[in-house]
Subunit: 82 residues, 2 copies
């Protein structure tokens, strides 16, 4: 069954406290070359049947209205896999 | 600056309560064609300079040991963007 993957990230202009904490942890563990860690969500939706343009448009609407909070997050990607 | 994206998902054989809740919400909102929602993490790491094979190997190690919990999660993708 095809899967639609929706990627949601905190807006670039907002502080990401969870990412900041991981950045600090990596530095303490000796992995300081990895900086500015940001943590978002990867959401997989399974669709029963073919993914038509209509279903993809509906997925985009869901991504904007249900799966993300437009005040603090951006939908950075929607793609069909399998 | 190049960014490494690490995708982490709950293991397929485990229940994902957050995903289950969203599946139920979508059904109630009339989007029942989207089923079996699973919610994972999308982690962006910024690297200062070129991403060599060595840095990518270190990122893979971090993904397995720090960014994911191997008991309940799988690293499903590591890719360099930009």
């Amino acid at each position: 069954m095809p899967t639609i993957v929706v990627d949601v990230m905190p807006k670039a202009e907002l502080l990401d406290p969870q990412g900041k904490a991981v950045t600090g942890s990596l530095a303490r563990l000796g992995h300081g070359k990895f900086q500015n860690v940001r943590i978002g969500k990867r959401i997989e939706l399974t669709v029963d049947g073919e993914v038509t343009d209509e279903i993809l448009a509906e997925a985009k609407q869901i991504a904007d209205e249900v799966l993300s909070n437009q005040v603090i997050e951006d939908v950075v990607g929607i793609e069909v896999v399998e």
